[in-house]
Amino acid sequence: MKVFIYPTNSLILSDLVERFGHEPLAVMQEISKRVSNPGLDSPPMNITPEDPKIGLKYAAVEVPSGVRGRMALNGPLISKAEAAIIVRDPVVSFGCMGCARTNELVNFLIRAKKIPILDLDYPSSEEEAKEFVFKISQFLKSLGQGEKK
């Protein structure tokens, strides 16, 4: 199944989804389509002023351009999602999209889809981390036989 992850750029979540035979829907895929000039001093994304306009499909024009530009990346992933794993209040290093307003909109849109969703708090101890991974594995197994890409 196509599993949307939140934070949308979490490498750990993406890896877990893949390990259980499903297809992770992560923002890295969208960014990789836009990579043009990777460099140390410039953002390695070729997002153009057209992207915030594409983002108008998800948010109105009075919504800041940065939110709409991010939605141009996230929106298509949400459209494709068949299930989702959402981690609440993660630390920055676990993954983040940088903008709280985008996060709110992404969370709303994915929940509005009425697909199977696993909601989890970010673990704060080793015990919780084990439980965290266990719950994710159970959820992914419950989605049935995934098709490995």
Partner: protein, 416 residues
């Protein structure tokens, strides 16, 4: 701009610029003024601790990153010459961070800093004047420290509405020219010739020429100017020079024909500044249209406004179209031309106050310059809103030309 000038390192502290698709525009504007955009290094721990250390709690992690980068500049972890703080237009959380970070850097380091709120429509052209002013302040502090004009110099301010020229000799204005801008080069020639004629000097006697304003590059290239400089730094210099407030803090306000500038100045050098240029309703053009509708010359509008009461006219919009419509409706409903003139001045002043003066620290003395400062109703409306005395120096309309003539006297060299 001279590409052989020192490379200026501008730290970009931003949220949303890359996702708005305008990063290439920022880089391009910086490149045009021989500057390079850098992103201050920080550790992940810096981001985690920054809310506590900076004292501002925010939900967006890119704003935490922005604050952490500001801190690394203030603590000297990274060396930069100037700072560009930018966040998305219409993001309230970002607007608070942008404003506080700008103030934090300005107060703690004295490094020149500008802030900007962008949309996906922001272009390199929009950013160019701001970047130019930022790099000039960083690069040419010694030039901007000049307080007296020397020798025989000329300054031309090629504005969007009018072109002004002055001739200065030994720290005095000896000739002035003022014409409406029609064709940029022809208007510049006309204003320059008028100033030369009044001064009684020949063009070849001028030891150095400086240009500023919208047409500065075209006019500067045509007349082989020694200094081509944007209007932020030039007007700052011109304003404190004419108002004789060269030392200490000052705030310079210039409501232009097409855009407005609000500049926070220290010892004649701009620190923080904003430029508005999105809405004509907040510019001199609005007053010009009001004057036309009232059947008076623009020079008479100010005196008319001084006699009126803006409170008696209901303005439903700041827009140059719908605002004028409100004024027309008021006239039809029996308002006097005096009240309408006062309401128009108040409308422009209120927009300056709401949209731009919130972005800088307003410190006295407040100096108003540019042609619109001579419309007496306007400085009065600004005074009422700011609750401070506004100074309009003599020759306020020549501020750019005077600033250019003053600064270029540092470039005097034998002319062939």
């Amino acid at each position: 701009m001279n590409s052989s000038e020192n490379l200026v390192r501008i730290a970009q502290l931003s949220c949303g610029a890359e996702y708005s698709g305008i990063q290439a525009e920022i880089d391009s504007a910086a490149k045009q003024v021989n500057a390079v955009i850098v992103y201050p290094e920080i550790d992940i721990k810096d981001i985690e601790n920054i809310e506590e250390e900076f004292g501002l709690k925010v939900a967006s992690s890119d704003l935490k990153l922005l604050m952490a980068r500001a801190k690394s500049i203030v603590t000297g972890k990274v060396h930069v010459d100037a700072v560009f703080v930018a966040t998305c237009f219409r993001c309230a959380e970002a607007a608070i961070v942008r404003s506080e970070v700008r103030r934090y850097i300005h107060e703690k380091t004295g490094i020149p800093v500008i802030s900007y709120s962008f949309t996906e429509r922001t272009t390199a052209g929009t950013l160019l004047t701001r970047m130019e002013a930022l790099t000039t302040t960083a690069r040419r502090k010694s030039l901007l420290a000049r307080e007296k004009q020397s020798g025989l110099t000329a300054g031309i301010d090629s504005g969007s509405t009018t072109t002004k020229a002055v001739i200065m000799k030994d720290n005095k204005i000896i000739g002035k020219g003022w014409v409406p801008t029609i064709k940029v080069l022809e208007s510049a020639e006309e204003a320059y010739n008028a100033a030369l004629k009044e001064a009684g000097v020949k063009r070849e006697e001028i030891q150095a020429l400086g240009t500023t304003g919208y047409g500065r590059f075209l006019v500067g290239d045509h007349l082989k100017a020694d200094l081509i400089q944007e209007e932020i730094t030039v007007n700052s210099k011109g304003a404190v020079y004419l108002a004789d407030k060269q030392k200490g803090p000052a705030t310079v306000l210039d409501i232009g024909g097409m855009d407005n500038k609000a500049i926070s100045v220290m010892d004649g050098i701009p620190g923080m500044f904003t430029m508005g240029g999105i809405c004509a309703g907040a510019s001199g053009r609005f007053l010009e249209m009001t004057a036309k509708r009232l059947g008076v010359g623009i020079t008479e509008l100010g005196a008319l406004a001084m006699k009126g009461k803006q409170e008696d006219v209901k303005m439903n919009s700041y827009c140059i179209v719908f605002g004028i419509q409100s004024l027309v409706n008021s006239l039809a409903a029996g308002s006097t031309p005096e009240d309408v003139a006062a309401a128009a001045c108040h409308s422009v002043a209120e927009q300056l106050f709401e949209q731009q003066l919130q972005e800088i620290d307003v410190k006295e003395p407040v100096i108003m310059c540019g042609g619109t400062s001579l419309i007496e109703g306007l400085p009065k409306a600004v005074e009422e809103l700011l609750k401070v005395k506004v100074i309009v120096p003599d020759n306020a309309q020549y501020i750019g030309a005077v600033g250019a003539a003053l600064l270029v006297s540092g470039f005097i060299r034998p002319r062939i």
